[in-house]
Symmetry: C2
Subunit: 223 residues, 2 copies
DNA sequence: TACCATATTGGAACGCTGTTCCAGACCTGT
DNA sequence: ACAGGTCTGGAACAGCGTTCCAATATGGTA
């Protein structure tokens, strides 16, 4: 009797690569990047650390798999757009919001191996650059610049949101930084002091899109 | 006699925050980011781990201090330029090459707290944006876009160079990646496959500057 | 010079981590 | 019913950041 019970419920919660990656994503979202340990993951999956290693080589591979899953999901949700210009903005926002929702992805993207996740973004952006009418020789440069900008801003935006241990209100946070900037030495930081006020009414997403438009304007201007 | 000898040479190798940060930079450059441990650092400074903690709060602070030192040194070497356009290129290249020479700095920059290092870059770029004649309301956006792009590309460039454990030749590396891209599925990655050839004769620095010019063109176009 | 309070040192120890190892349990095909 | 590989999970290892603290060096005062 005891044997039968244990045997039947065993197949239900069988370990698998997907289940492990899914649990890792949950753990990272719940506890932050430092929350993902093989022991915590094993506990959540009601098993031991050793069992996980049968399905996944090491922590690095686990992080790559988790990031890829998040990026793939985000890009999958990006729909069709009437113009290349709008499509690029749509893809960019999709990536931006995915990293904003899962800040730990950012730390992974700017780290080797830039495998599937980065490649997927590059491919999607590249196609739209081509559709914009950019000639062959300049496509690589334009797509690279866009992808670098998208990843760069998204990662930094995620890093900012992550830096508060007791999650502070965004407005309060901007207020604080803005105040700090105003306190800077007038000789060393004249520019930063000057724009400190603008920081208070600052919308990351809008600023991000404005940057995209800036690059797109540059691409268009050199057609 | 013995007492005098020990006493006199003791002051020579006295510990200090600067000496520790300098040794940390050397260690990071020599052994990579994983090479910096408090034990290795203590050995290099001929002391124990505990002594280091008298001068520095924790590893995070040490990394921030090391990054700040490298960035400050790099920006200090950037000279005057006749036009804002050239100045921005000059600053950008300075940052790019500093991170290329010290890849571990990249991992730090896109991580909170973005204190002095990031701020210094932002300030330097911002002043030149102002000099370009960008109106007050758009300065923040333009400077942010440039800084994000500069950091984004530099970090990714550094990450690429770092990923090879036996340091492979750059040309061989590009050849390999280019070949990998050509093997990609034609349905899923048409664009990436198409530009794979361009990757082989790819110059990171030139590509980086082309991206800067793209953004500058965008800024100029919207003046 | 003798002494004390303070600043500084460095080695031992703690708790945690990623990873390895392996005895045993499970599942499948004969 | 049994033999094979597949899969599990707990114990153990080395190494990490960090803390602790007894020992020492230093600078000021009597």
């Amino acid at each position: 009797m005891a044997k039968a019970t244990r045997g039947s419920e065993r197949r239900e919660d069988a370990l698998s690569r997907e289940r492990i990656v899914e649990a890792a994503i949950e753990l990272l979202d719940d506890e932050g990047e430092n929350g993902l340990t093989f022991r915590a993951l094993a506990t959540r999956l009601a098993t031991g650390p050793g069992a996980i290693y049968w399905h996944i080589a090491n922590k690095s591979e686990l992080l790559v798999a988790a990031s890829d899953a998040v990026v793939a999901r985000a890009l999958g949700e990006v729909l069709a757009f009437p113009t290349p210009h709008e499509a690029i903005r749509g893809i960019a926002v999709g990536v931006f919001e995915a990293i904003d929702a899962h800040p730990w992805v950012g730390a992974q993207l700017s780290r080797p191996p830039w495998r599937t996740a980065m490649l997927q973004i590059f491919e999607r952006i590249g196609r739209q650059v081509q559709a914009m009418g950019v000639p062959g020789g300049a496509r690589f440069t334009s797509a690279s610049a866009l992808v670098s900008y998208i990843i760069g801003v998204s990662v930094q935006n995620a890093a900012n949101g992550r830096l508060l241990d007791p999650p502070v209100d965004r407005a309060d946070f901007l207020e604080t930084v803005s105040a700090q900037w105003k306190e800077l030495d007038a000789r060393e930081y004249p520019f930063t002091r000057n724009v400190a006020a603008q920081l208070r009414e600052h919308d990351d997403r809008a600023e991000f899109l404005a940057g995209i438009d800036l690059i797109l304007a540059g691409i268009t201007a050199s057609l």
